[in-house]
């Protein structure tokens, strides 16, 4: 009798335990998302595609899609859970400005300062954002959602998270994953467009070597840059402020420790947190929607538009420049702010046609201008749509 009681107790407990396991709660959606997470990890390790982003996001996707028995207070969307607390940085939007602080502290704006006209390429590439915005509107998205989707074209993960957390929090997971995925795919997406839109002769253009930039100019850049852009678009203040502040820490020459922390441990910590929590936020029931598929398609479209706009703008710009001052249109793609990947793409494609024509330093100009441009664009979208 007693033995039977113990047995039945054990069976009951085991049954309850089984109800709590992931096996009992798994859905095809969970399995699909876990596979996507594993694919991200594979691409990062095997193909070396943006491992610093894809490993945390990929593993985050796996964490976020472990099937849970609701109410255990462990899921990212369950208030008070550890993951939920870490996710606040994404939801409330305080991780992206911290990332921008680190980016500012590690970015050398010399290329831009020595040849300031390259800034305009960074502006032209932002057309990807607004092109995608118009397409998203036509596809039936609400204006705020369309704005959040459009920002994927800025190729700037932190900006995409920052803006979508304010304009369309429900779509943030899909937007963030889409933005980071396409950033990782920059070496795959951009070269065919660059080749398609340029002639052989244009690809061989040699640009004038950049002049040496004085330390005073480097110190002035973050201060003047911040004042000008923030006065024009105050809604971009968190991103612009942190970007230029980080750069001032680097260039002032007297805050080396702070700059090193910002571009080292701080940005690493925030990258880990933002990557994992964004990955976690792709919980199957929230993420696997037809809207997510549209977002991915529009994201790809915005990258294509941004790259094309950058390259075509350089070609147009060249019509007004004297011989010897012309710009190689292969650096037009780097106006999207995937730093430094898109600049690296410019350099690699350039080297394919002339093994001695190094475009990296020239491409860094529009590349960092793209960071400023996308932060300004985010500020405009916030100002118009909220």
């Amino acid at each position: 009798m007693e033995n039977k009681g113990i047995f039945s107790l054990l069976t009951d407990n085991l049954e309850t335990f089984l109800q709590y396991t992931g096996f009992a709660n798994a859905t095809p959606g969970h399995i699909l998302m876990i596979l996507i997470g594993l694919l991200f990890i594979y691409l990062a390790i095997k193909k070396d595609w943006e491992p610093l982003l894809l490993i945390p996001i990929g593993f985050g996707i796996v964490i976020g899609n472990i099937p849970l028995f609701p109410g255990l207070s462990v899921g990212v969307y369950e208030e008070g859970s550890v993951l939920n607390i870490l996710y606040q940085g994404v939801q409330k939007g305080f991780y992206p400005p911290l990332i921008f602080l680190g980016i500012g502290a590690m970015t050398d704006f010399s290329a831009l300062i020595s040849n300031p006209k390259l800034m305009l390429i960074g502006a032209a590439a932002q057309f990807g954002i607004f092109g995608a915005y118009a397409i998203a509107l036509a596809a039936g998205f609400a204006p705020a959602e369309a704005g959040a989707i459009g920002i994927i074209g800025g190729a700037d993960g932190p900006t995409a998270i920052f803006l979508s957390s304010r304009l369309a929090p429900d779509l943030m997971g899909a937007i963030a994953v889409s933005a980071y995925s396409y950033m990782a795919l920059v070496p795959v997406i951009q070269p065919p467009i660059m080749r398609l839109l340029t002639t052989h002769k244009e690809r061989l253009i040699r640009m004038k070597a950049p002049r040496a930039v004085s330390q005073t100019e480097k110190k002035l850049f973050p201060i003047i840059g911040f004042l000008l852009t923030a006065f024009i678009v105050p809604s971009g203040l968190p991103l612009l402020g942190m970007l230029f502040f980080g750069n001032l820490l680097k260039e002032s020459g007297v805050t080396r420790r702070l700059a090193e922390t910002a571009r080292g441990p701080l940005i690493d910590v925030v990258t880990i947190l933002i990557g994992v929590t964004v990955g976690c936020s792709t919980q199957a029931d929230k993420f696997l929607q037809i809207k997510s598929v549209y977002i991915f398609m529009l994201g790809a479209g915005s990258f294509v538009i941004a790259t094309s706009a950058g390259v075509l703008f350089v070609k147009l710009f060249n019509l007004f420049l004297k011989e010897g001052n012309k710009i190689n249109p292969l650096i037009g793609n780097s106006g999207v702010s995937a730093v430094p990947d898109s600049a690296r793409v410019s350099n690699n494609v350039g080297l394919e046609y002339d093994r001695t024509n190094y475009l990296l330093m020239h491409a860094m100009g529009p590349n960092v201008a793209g960071v400023i441009g996308s932060a300004v664009a985010a500020g405009i979208l916030l100002g118009f749509l909220t």
Partner: protein, 309 residues
Amino acid sequence: MKKGLLILLLSVVTATLNIAGAQNMSDMRINEILVVNTDDFTDDYGNKSGWIELFNTSYGTVDIGGCYITNDPDNLTKYMIPRGDVLTKVKPRQHTLFWADSKPHRGTFHLNFSLENSGEILFISSDGKTIIDRIKIPHDLLAENVSYGRIRDGVNVMADKKNIDMSATWGVLSRTSPSTNNFGVDKEPPGMIFMKIDPYGVIMSFTAMFVVFLSLIILYLVFKNIGKYNIRISRKRAEKAAAGTKRVVPEEEASAEVFAAISMALHAFYEDNDSHDIENTILTIQKVTRNYSPWSSKIYTLRERPVKK
């Protein structure tokens, strides 16, 4: 001297903090009043009485505990809003409602006067002297259950630089709106309004691109000129320095490419000649300084080996 400076600095900081605190309260506005309530909102006790709505115009929480509300300009401290009640912390852009029922024992939000016989309502800072906002009650305009409020929540329409245009700021409202917005309750989100004007996003795209270009063009112009100025200054300095050495060399801006070429040449030269560049005074592009590390220090290795006895 240093102590004096420190005291001065501390006083400035304290004064600034006090001003900042006062500024918080000064963000509060009287937003709407209902004098005769026979068929409108009821309080927690099920009673209908006149009410005063305050609005926090700022984007930060304001604690109005310790402030005063009065209907008597000669007695500014007639009703003190009790301190320590969490409900007196008014969230950003939110409202709070006071019942003018002459029953203050019923709680924090019940005043010790009624509105029927009041000519004016004043909201006073916690110092008991500073009038933050005041409004005269136009009894002749107000029928039963009709409220008088700001046309736009918390907004003063100015007639000129100093005076408020009362007729444009305040009005008889088409419906009472206690603890909610007087204007724009049914307002569409800005994005939707914008979409009506610009359904395809064309205006938005062009406007936004114009702003992005404008920002970067300004930045371009500024740094183009700073660059020019900088080159001019460095040329002048170089000329001055050259004048001191008698020989004036026509200066041309050395590019980063030139420096890179010199460095590469040096590097290639030393590599080809099997040279090393550890000697003092040799020109090198390699790191020659050695950082001290206890791990490589001889001091720590000069120890006796343990001997087994």
